[in-house]
Symmetry: C2
Subunit: 158 residues, 2 copies
Amino acid sequence: MRLQQELKLKQPLASVNHEALLSLVRTSSLMQKLSDRFFSQFGLTDVQFNILMILKEHGSEGLSQQELSEHLIVTKSNVVGLIDRLERGDYVKRVSHPSDRRFNQIVLTPKGQKLEAKVEKSYFKEVDKMMNVLSPSEKRSVVKAMESIRQYIIDNGA
Amino acid sequence: MRLQQELKLKQPLASVNHEALLSLVRTSSLMQKLSDRFFSQFGLTDVQFNILMILKEHGSEGLSQQELSEHLIVTKSNVVGLIDRLERGDYVKRVSHPSDRRFNQIVLTPKGQKLEAKVEKSYFKEVDKMMNVLSPSEKRSVVKAMESIRQYIIDNGA
DNA sequence: TAGAGATAGTTTATATATAAACTATCGTTC
DNA sequence: GAACGATAGTTTATATATAAACTATCTCTA
């Protein structure tokens, strides 16, 4: 559908720049909703699955909450609740760092490992289904454009 | 920066599809943060400004909370709190529909109109600055790619 | 070695978001 | 006209997110 109709605008968008921006914002918002629905099948949220994937990559050493907050680009105060909830579900645990008691090493439990492996398979299938609506050159173009935008944001102090 | 480094991945991304998806997700997340910082200058959030813009377009008739929830693609229960907070700041008000008391017509107050007009000017300048990192053909390509993705999501029941 | 500063994590207050259960109002149908 | 069903908005419980103030721990330096 055309963006103007989707946004229920009375007038066409005046600027191509605004149209491109709203395209991105609207699309990522809808992707978020699709993602929510997908992960809720497994009793997870997208953020929770992301954490499980990150922790899987870091094995038995895990990551500190500070490191996790940098991976997720969220504040450390947010990570507290995220780990609380994952710990409540017995998917991860906090382990005290042996030589520096300020750190929690967050590691997957066996239950967390099993769930991650199971969800990951379905996840990559869904990703392929969605992204294959784009041609290879479109994908390259999107990746390049997104990189330019991120560079702008980083240069402007994010 | 390369996505792999930004995401602090130990291994390169296996699939181009996943890379394209994470490009989008990461970029919109950073855009959200830039947006937060921009609007906080004016004591607003991005969602609040979006509501003010939508209401401006609908003048003295305003929109019901149900209609607003459709514009914003959020649930009506979310809209309750959004309007509560904007009403607390005297930016909008709830007006009972004259012939159907189930409806609230949400309209801008004079204070809300003034703020919207002021913020809008800066907003469009920022949008131009950011999106002009893309060439005209890149913008067209992004708009087209995003439309394809949204079509996929709509077809898959969102 | 005592104190100062840095770092990791937590708490609190607030904003955004959902789903589900609820109230109030309106329309339709019998 | 009373009952039923649909619609609009609210409330509650929960998840994600921030900023700011806090505690605990560690490190460095005077």
